[in-house]
Amino acid sequence: MPFRRSVLLALPVASAALLAGCASGPAAGSPTPSASAAAETVTVDNCGTEVAFEAAPERVVTIKSTSTEMLLALGVGDRIVGTAFQDGPLPDDLADDGAGLTSIADKLPSEEAVLGLEPDLVYAGWESAFAADAAGERDELASLGVASYVSPAACKEPGYQPEKLTWDDVFAEITEVGDIFRVPDAAAELVDEQEAEVAAIEPDDRGLTALWYSSGTETPYVGAGIGNPQLLLDTIGLDNIAGDVEDTWTSIGWESVVAADPDVIVLVDASWNSAQKKRDLLAADPALSGLTAVQNERYLVVPFAASEAGVRSADAAADLAAQLAELDLP
């Protein structure tokens, strides 16, 4: 059995690490793994669930694009035995490595479909994947010897949800997953690379405002003040018009959008609600067509799979910054 709930373990190393994790507080970032050496157990406090990895996971089911892409980027894509609920195509730099992956479900997989692959880890991008009517409750998976891990940025538990997502949070997941898979060097290299990429972004200094338009027609679902959209907008120097809302994403009325009249609109490109569909809607609506950004077609486009925190966040920020620089603004 590659892993066990840490509460069942009396390993002094693990306990010490847990204590250290508690002392610094869960909100301070992801808890320190007890060890990164291959032989020792790595214990993490993941969204309030303690998970101990006695060895690197060998058979992983990934749910949502962020988890699949994380493992591919760390060079451990060969451990993936099945993917589910992928949000869109893989980015170019991971496409070759991920070409042979098997998708077990277009949406959330059932617990039986997951267990049928005999995984030792289910790695999900959303907490909601771990439910009885989806991949299974975390406790139940644990009792069957299957570890579970959620992207810490997606934790919803108070104290675990990042108060306001930072690049440190994004990079901490890379480091933590690197420890779990015993590839700390690859993780460190990836973090260095991404840190450099983010540092190279020149934030726009024209004091522009932006709307992060994710989905919705009657009531738009937009990036709010504490999640990945806000992080990316901050990084490229745009002021989020929904930035005062203390949530990752939120529904706001069109009137608020028209009243704020953003300089730029970020369109999330998803297969079910494409950037083009959003452009058409904005242009056709009698009130929205008057928006400055719509009249001047000041749009930035981000693929849905890159709009959630993960290994694509840095690339997404750089790409958005480049698009912004190319916009013809007064």
């Binding site: 027609t217 009325g253 028209v258």
Partner: protein, 362 residues
């Protein structure tokens, strides 16, 4: 005891009840006119105030002058964009709320009378489930039809299925019609759930969730035309034949004895009500509570006579939904709630209060 006239007709006292009804009709005729005038004035004031409220900070006077300018009086003091907030977003939405609220309360009152069922609401015959299925087909399956058209078609298909089923089972009695509606609703609801479960990707389920809970956020001028048009074309004739509904309160036999061609009237009125509801659902989704509870609330105040109940319910429904929707779009500004959530949260306590007050008085 007036309340029970709709719930369970007590066949032992129709004469006494009828006399009581006539008395109360005469006695309160004047107060009914007074209440109607009051509610109509309240509606006008509500609309005028509601358009001045919203997340965008626009001065009250400027809002009214902007509207006046579109009606050909003066020049709008606002920039094109802010003028759009008033004329393209707020006003059509407030007017749609008024029309939908009026139509739903009216439909609910008629449905309750026709089926002699206190739990009847405008969606009783599978209309909202059918409309939801149509909407889901557009939003999630990408059917290339305008959403209101698909929702209306879905509602009508469900209605026809319900009536056909009820008819196949025998004469078109209230109980049979209601049960047929339950069957059709369940089926349409299951297919809707299946489509949502099967196809909703990423955050696309939010769009359909808002619609299923009822929302006026998408109401622009075409929605006003559809909702107000339906209320005028179908609702006003319903109010004019309100007296027919009084006959139904005492059962089909009594109604027939009074010379009412029971089946024909029920078919016609059910069809008209369904047409009205279908048009409303197509622009607003299925907004709960208004059609079910407002007629009861008005009945508690005025008694069961439909000549008063129908117009007063319609006016009260309009005022109620204007304020419920104003709350939905302003309470948590800039966030927005589906208005269907607000109607019940606001409405249930008010209705509870009416029930309790009524009891303590009698």
């Amino acid at each position: 005891m007036r309340f029970s006239a709709v719930t369970a007709p007590d066949r032992t006292v129709p004469v006494a009840r009828g006399a009581f009804l006539l008395d109360s009709l005469r006695a309160s005729h004047l107060t009914a006119v007074g209440a109607g005038t009051l509610l109509a004035a309240l509606l006008v004031v509500s609309v005028a105030v509601a358009v001045t409220l919203g997340p965008a900070d626009i001065r009250v006077g400027d809002v009214w002058r902007s509207i006046a300018s579109h009606l050909g009086l003066g020049v709008s003091p606002l920039s094109a964009l802010r003028d759009g907030i008033v004329w393209e977003l707020r006003l059509p939405r407030v007017l749609t709320a008024a029309a939908v609220g009026a139509g739903l309360a009216l439909s609910g009152a008629v449905m309750q009378a026709l089926t002699r069922n206190a739990l009847a609401d405008p969606y009783l015959l599978g209309l909202s489930s059918g409309a939801s299925l149509g909407a889901v087909a557009v939003v999630l399956l990408g059917l290339g039809v305008l959403l209101p058209v698909a929702a209306f078609a879905g509602a009508m298909a469900a209605l026809l299925a319900t009536l056909a089923l009820a008819r196949a089972a025998g004469a078109l009695t209230p109980a049979r019609t209601v049960l047929a509606g339950v069957a059709v609703s369940s089926l349409a609801g299951a297919v809707t759930s299946l489509v949502i479960f099967w196809t909703a990707t990423g955050d696309s389920y939010r769009e359909i969730l808002g619609w299923l809970l009822g929302s006026l956020a998408g109401a622009r001028w075409p929605a006003v035309a559809i909702a107000a048009g339906a209320v005028l074309v179908v609702g006003i004739p319903l109010v004019l034949v309100a007296r027919l509904l009084d006959a139904f309160a005492f059962g089909d036999t009594s109604a027939a004895a009074l010379g009412v061609p029971v089946e024909a009237v029920r078919w016609t009125l059910l069809g008209a009500t369904a047409l009205l509801t279908g048009a409303l659902v197509s622009v607003s989704g299925s907004i709960g509570f208004v059609g079910l509870v407002l007629p009861h609330a008005i009945r508690l105040l005025t008694g069961p006579g439909h000549r008063r109940l129908l117009p007063l319910s319609a006016l009260a429904g309009a005022v109620f939904l204007v304020w419920a929707d104003t709350a939905a779009r302003t309470l948590f500004d800039p966030r927005e709630l589906p208005v269907g959530v607000v109607t019940a949260i606001l409405g249930a306590p008010v209705f509870a209060l009416l029930l309790v007050r009524r009891r303590s008085r009698s």
